[in-house]
């Protein structure tokens, strides 16, 4: 079935095809009630994506409201400590709201406004996407409903409060296992019942076509800026890119502009939780198999009966049993190497970053940093690694204190 495994495409940047497929992955697996709406989102997206007015509106908000471009920062002390390649951070944690998520919510809400939608819904796991959605809803004065698993609401209480401050209604999801996948189910249920006035802002490069492509395009600003900034600093493109992956939007954003640069090695880092062999992890590519959920075919954590298994990670933002379909395709074509990092390795990297750089990273990019710490020492000193610092760790300090409290 996986017949695209060994054929190298002409370009890694040309997907998806018209039906939303990246190789065999992607597609539009949704209930009929939603199909006309999904098709109208696609139509609106295709009309906007090259429209100079839309793009300049995006750019001005990105500059004045989000604070783009985010800096590309040379992590001098970390580089010295690891003793190998030069390490740069793409600092998307400095964006307004503290993560890369707002790059996408800004783009989608501008699209929703073009479609004359008057109500916004979104799912959230760690709450970063929920906060970024609530933020742009406040900015554009649109009512906002966020679905969040009850379990996640407990472990991410500060973000719940932030969303409420921003005027959003946060609805606890108790169905299923009360985590991100159930929040996504619930948001889809809301959408089916409110097709005429509601726009669903999906937070990652997953879901039915055109979402994986659309979210990637909104996030690709990360990679485009990185390219310009590293050319300015080093006069050449990086040797290696590293980013963490839950659904995979920050990674797609960094990787996509470099996919056809053969010299660039690319690593996506999944969350291995307690370890892949423990079964308690969130590594869909390393520990799952292809299936169909939430509108797309992709790698999923599932049992032998095709039932979805809960993901586990110390980082709520990586705690999703699927992954964006384009990553599944990049995995099978071999263009991107997908590796995994356990909870404890991520915590160690978290501390390393705090100590050497004075930057408290989110637990999500701490996974990416753990992989950087694995590979940098064996690389020559003139090699360059760029890692996406996609979120800041303020939201995580309580969770980390629970684990490390007695050590510090």
């Amino acid at each position: 079935m996986l017949d695209n495994q060994h054929t190298k495409p002409e370009s890694f940047r040309s997907g998806p095809d018209e039906a939303g497929h990246f190789g065999i992955f992607g597609g539009r697996f949704v209930a009929e009630t939603l199909m006309p709406l999904i098709l109208s989102v696609e139509e609106a997206w295709n009309a906007c994506r090259h429209d100079p007015d839309f793009l300049s509106e995006m750019e001005s908000h990105a500059r004045d409201y989000i604070g783009r471009p985010s800096p590309l920062y040379f992590a001098r002390r970390l580089t010295r400590e690891l003793g190998g390649a030069k390490i740069y951070f793409k600092r998307d944690e400095l964006n307004h709201t503290g993560s890369h998520k707002i790059n996408n919510t800004l783009g989608q809400i501008l699209l929703a406004r073009r479609m004359n939608k008057t109500r916004i819904i979104a799912e959230t796991g760690a709450g970063q996407h929920g906060v970024a959605t609530a933020t742009v809803c406040a900015l554009f004065n649109l009512p906002c409903v966020i679905y969040m698993g009850e379990t996640d609401m407990e472990r991410q209480a500060p973000n719940v409060f932030r969303m409420k401050l921003l005027g959003a209604e946060v609805i606890p999801v108790t169905s299923g296992t009360a985590t991100l996948k159930d929040a996504m189910n619930e948001a889809l249920r809301d959408w089916v019942a409110n097709v005429t006035d509601t726009f669903y802002i999906i937070g990652t490069v997953a879901g039915p076509h055109p979402y994986p492509e659309m979210v990637r395009e909104f996030q690709s600003v990360i990679g485009r800026e990185t390219r310009d900034q590293i050319m300015e600093r080093e006069g050449r493109i990086p040797d290696t890119l590293v980013a963490c992956i839950g659904g995979g939007s920050n990674a797609m954003g960094l990787f996509h502009p470099f996919l056809d640069d053969e010299s660039v090695k690319i690593f996506g880092v999944e969350a291995a939780g307690h370890g892949i062999e423990s079964g308690k992890h969130a590594a869909s590519l390393s520990g799952g198999k292809p299936g169909v959920l939430h509108g797309n075919r992709t790698y999923l954590l599932q049992n032998d009966d095709g039932q979805i298994i809960d993901a586990h990670s110390i980082s709520a933002g990586l705690d999703y049993p699927g992954i964006g379909p384009e990553h599944s395709w990049l995995h099978e074509t071999g263009r991107v190497s997908y590796v995994s990092v356990t909870d404890s390795e991520a915590l160690e990297a978290f501390r390393l970053c705090c100590r050497t750089e004075g930057i408290i990273p989110a637990l999500e990019p701490s996974h990416a940093l753990a992989h950087v710490a694995r590979i940098a020492p064996d690389m020559a000193k003139d090699r360059i690694i760029v890692m996406n610092m996609c979120g800041r760790g303020d939201k995580d300090v309580f969770a980390v204190a629970e684990v490390l409290g007695d050590i510090l």
Partner: protein, 270 residues
């Protein structure tokens, strides 16, 4: 194509009445009780049996059916049990059509062709797969029709005439009209909206039309019977199982209570 669905609609026409389609989840609340429920449905008045294939993440269904799925999965339900139940049912009933309804992933995981072969062999007559719109017909619709099973598609209030054409194109057996834009077990549609939707569907197809979502009483079944060929009841039946469990009833009692409701609903088809 299996003939049971066509035969059954023929019989209903001769009897000059509409049909009752019952929906329960295979394996809910446990395989033994679920077999009892299934076995007694025709006698209680079900003209067609829609059997839900349990799935952990049924995003087009409401809480009642999601809970039913999770109960079934928790107690050993799943694809193998579902197909065994149909096989077992067919040893005693060769006439009542069985339609499997569910989501694509468990089939994808089982292997599509293996699933189609075994479903046909077990005595299944048709499939309703919620998350396979016409855009994904190559996945299962075409292989299903080639195998000789009916592919029953959902029409919805969001299907305009152009969309209807696409939806009806590879439909067979009957058309299932989802009467509300929403999930199962929530609100009910206005009768006049259902009537105009059914008329619109009939202008584009000769297939019988069943109407579902939000139907829970004999009175509603009677009203649907006036304007469509069959009425589908799901969440109301599934709720009988949950109430039975909550009040600690035995499997026999739960099956009896569910059959009693089916009998009452069936009175609306005459």
């Amino acid at each position: 194509m299996t003939r049971r669905i066509g035969n059954r609609f023929g019989k209903l026409r001769r009897e000059n009445r509409a049909g009752l389609v019952t929906y329960t989840v295979a394996g809910d609340p446990d395989p033994a009780t679920s077999r009892k429920i299934l076995g007694g449905l025709p006698e209680a008045g079900a003209d067609f049996i829609e059997l839900g294939m349990p799935f952990s993440d049924p995003m087009a269904d409401g809480p009642a059916i999601q809970l039913a799925s999770l109960r079934a999965l928790h107690n050993g339900g799943g694809m193998i049990n579902t197909l065994n139940m149909v096989r077992n049912f067919r040893t005693r009933d060769m006439d009542t059509p069985i339609i499997l309804m569910g989501y694509y992933n468990p089939i994808h995981c089982y292997g599509s062709q293996r699933f189609l072969d075994e479903a046909l062999d077990a005595g299944v007559d048709g499939l309703i797969i919620v998350d396979l719109p016409p855009e994904e017909d190559d996945e299962l619709c075409h292989p299903c029709l080639t195998s000789g099973l009916n592919w029953i598609r959902l029409t919805t209030p969001t299907s305009d005439d152009r969309r209807l054409e696409k939806v009806l194109k590879h439909s067979s057996g009957f058309v299932y009209h989802v009467s509300i834009a929403g999930i199962t077990g929530t609100r009910s549609a206005e009768l006049e909206d259902i009537e105009s939707a059914v008329q619109r569907i009939r202008r584009q197809t000769d297939l019988p039309v069943a109407v579902g979502f939000g139907i829970r009483t004999a009175e509603q079944v009677r009203a649907i019977s006036e304007i469509a060929d069959a009425a589908v009841v799901g969440s109301a039946l599934v709720n009988v199982i949950r109430e039975g469990i909550d009040s600690g009833r035995s499997g026999d009692d739960i099956a009896a209570a569910l059959h009693a409701l089916v009998r009452e609903l069936a009175s609306g088809t005459v």
